[in-house]
Symmetry: C2
Subunit: 301 residues, 2 copies
DNA sequence: GCAATCTATAGCATAATTCTATGGAGGTGA
DNA sequence: TCACCTCCATAGAATTATGCTATAGATTGC
């Protein structure tokens, strides 16, 4: 497009400011009063009204003997009030969204035990915010984040993910989970590798952490049973199928099981609040991450 | 108000342009497409959307992996479409007003015989325009114009009125109106002054013209009967009460009456289209005055 | 008639808008 | 894999819009 074509565009598009001046002039009964109402100077309103009349191609207000609507002005007034009313509603809606008095947030979680206190804090602080959750393993949640299916996720990571905003909440170590009948106080990496092992599917962070630990020590852990959820792993251990591993904070309150430390160098991972960087511009996400960090700190002390 | 207070006003009022960009971006599925739709450059739309998000205090559109509405964006879209829809209606209404496809005009008239062809021309050219008329004498119509009770008036004047837009349509002379039985071919001013005269009320232009003519010749016309309308004058003359005067173009088609010239220097007045100067900014008035001049010219040839 | 009030114009400063040019990120085909 | 294409974001510059102060003309009221 050339500069000339730009200059030649129709002059006098009707602006919201002009409609506000017009409505205020009618309401106040004079241009001066309208300026007062709007917090503008009288000449500003005067010029704006003149411009509005030129844009409309017709006189809208008789100034003499007193302010009086013309026929077109009457038409315009009704419609201007509709536009301005809708606009006010729109701005109020956005204000509510910003203050989390409306709207919703989708939260992904791989470790409900860590995530739920955060979610509880969010819901307590903003009762009118609708919260949806989605359970998944770390890899699945990262995909859901990329696809914008969830706005933020509480998940386990060994280190922050490139291209994502990752806020560390707590650091946790892996522990072994054995049947309550097994009389041991600790278990070595070699014993774990010897199995029988009950582990989660690929994509799970506990699985990845175990395999990395085995590889670092030249071991190759053979997996007796691969399960798709923590619940299945728990039942498998309770049934005596093998030994499983979980994060410290995820230890089950189950009479049939016992948590025992893994001997040697601790296998550590972090629980993170993860989001797309741009998603931090969502007030709900920003607030949720903040509250999550608070909740983690409170739990740590 | 100080300059600082002005500078400090809340930044980021939501503009119509921003809403248009937003709606177009959603509709087009990309920022570039939105720019195309709106006839703007891509960066313009990009920064406008960023500004809208800052004004709303929240992210509205996920840009990756493809354009997707956030929760607040969904809310905003529905309301933005309402605002823009109302705005479109408003602009269409103003367009119709400008083109006289809607609206109304109030026309005053003191001489229906001259005004009706003008009104007929207006109604033929703009069938959707509602026309209201109001009959009155010259003085009454001038007051109605000042009070904005009529937008324009067709009336008789001896000369243009100060502070009013006066467009001369035709020049007419006064003629006498006598019973058909009276066998005269003309009548002198002295004979008229001798009466018996039937004249209109003060405020009527024919009355003022007659009195001015009498005064100019040192005569004092005695009024036998004062009437409030042309119809009353006609019946009075037919009943033999006296002689009346009318403008040339107002001569009655009545078997009982005869129009005869007034001898001597002609007593002339003009038929004018009169309006407040500002009322010429009303398309209906401007068009009506133009059509009236045309109609007068056509009648003259 | 004169003061008071209201509207309109002129001139100027600041803010907003919009462009072109350019950089960087994500996906596609040889 | 690398080049290429598309898309979005940023930077800088020019133009337009907005809003103010100061002031003049008009109208109303005592």
């Amino acid at each position: 497009m050339t500069n000339d074509a730009r200059r030649g565009r129709r002059e006098g598009a009707i602006s919201l400011a002009a409609l506000r001046c017009f409505a205020a002039a009618v309401e106040g009964g004079s241009v001066s009063r309208a300026a007062e109402i709007l917090g503008l100077s009288q000449p500003t309103v005067s010029v704006t009204l003149t411009g509005l009349e030129r844009a409309c191609g017709t006189l809208l207000l008789h100034r003499r003997p007193r302010l009086a609507l013309t026929d077109a002005g009457q038409d315009l007034l009704a419609r201007a009030r509709l536009v301005l009313g809708r606009m006010d509603e729109l701005e109020e809606t956005m204000r509510q969204s910003r203050d989390l008095r409306r709207g919703s947030i989708a939260i992904g979680l791989s470790t409900p035990a860590h995530a739920m206190p955060c979610i509880a804090a969010l819901m307590a602080a903003h009762p009118e915010l609708r919260v949806r959750t989605r359970l998944g393993n770390t890899n699945g949640l990262l995909e859901a984040l990329s696809a914008c299916e969830v706005e933020v996720a509480i998940m386990t990571l060994t280190k922050p993910v490139e291209g994502m905003s990752c806020t560390l909440l707590v650091t946790q170590r892996l522990i072994a989970c054995v049947p309550a009948s097994a009389p041991r106080a600790g278990i070595s990496l070699e014993d774990l590798a010897a199995g029988p092992l009950v582990l989660r599917e690929p994509g799970s962070m506990t699985r990845a952490m175990m395999e990395a630990a085995f590889a670092a020590h030249g071991l190759s852990g053979r997996i007796a049973l691969e399960v798709g959820s923590r619940e299945a792993a728990r039942e498998a251990v309770a049934a005596g199928i093998g030994i499983s591993v979980v994060l410290d904070g995820e230890a089950w309150q189950d009479q049939r099981l016992r948590a025992v430390p893994i001997l040697g160098e601790p296998i550590e991972g972090g629980v993170y609040a993860v989001a797309l960087p741009e998603s931090l511009d969502l007030p709900a996400v920003r607030v949720f991450v903040g509250l999550s960090a608070d909740a983690a700190n409170r739990a740590a002390t």
